[in-house]
């Protein structure tokens, strides 16, 4: 059972790696923001599988924080993309 769960975690890690590679190679900012989503689901799945495989329940708490902060990071990405435009306008009018 343990080796099956670890293998599943390794598989999801491979998928996350592929996803990250594809996302970070693209130019569009919108694509970059998706990494928060990717880790919010994939990273949480990896941690939950590791928690079950190594029989260490506290790892589940790391998954909980990862889920919470992935959402927080996504808000940070979106805010940054939105405020930079406004900023440029403000400085342009301010001289």
């Amino acid at each position: 059972m343990t080796s099956f769960l670890v293998a599943a975690a390794a598989f999801v890690l491979t998928m996350v790696t592929l996803g990250l590679f594809v996302i970070l190679r693209r130019w569009a900012e919108v694509d970059h923001m998706m990494v928060a989503q990717l880790l919010g689901t994939g990273g949480v799945a990896i941690l939950l599988l590791l928690a079950a495989a190594t029989e260490a329940p506290p790892i589940v708490d790391v998954a909980l924080l990862l889920a919470l902060f992935a959402a927080f990071a996504a808000v940070a990405f979106v805010r940054s993309a939105s405020s930079s435009e406004q900023e440029v306008r403000e400085t342009a009018s301010g001289g």
């Binding site: 999801v12 594809v22 919108v30 919010g40 909980l64 993309a81």
Partner: protein, 97 residues
């Protein structure tokens, strides 16, 4: 009993892993950000749901199982909202912004 639980785990976790694969394929193959976002969010969330379902038989006690479900609910809800936010940025900037 233990065996039945283990078979359930193997079945659901494998199904979940398959959905992660599908999500990644979508991320690589789909042509524009909105469809890629769609693939990533929906399919990966389903994958995580199946992984959680598969891990429930292995959970330690009722509290452990409830915590797993709570994490999945959190990812599901926040993921859905965050996707809306990101998609809103796409509309704002245009597909290549």
């Amino acid at each position: 009993m233990k065996l039945a639980f283990d078979i359930l785990t193997i079945f659901f976790v494998s199904a979940g892993a398959l959905f992660f694969l599908a999500g990644t394929v979508g991320l690589i193959r789909f042509p524009d950000p909105l469809t890629r976002l769609h693939a990533l969010t929906k399919v990966d969330n389903l994958g995580l749901g199946l992984v959680v379902l598969g891990l429930l038989p292995q959970a330690t006690g009722l509290f452990g199982a409830l915590k797993l479900v709570a994490i999945w609910l959190l990812v599901q809800l926040s993921g859905a909202i965050v996707t809306q936010l990101i998609a809103g940025t796409v509309r704002h900037h245009g597909p290549h912004g």
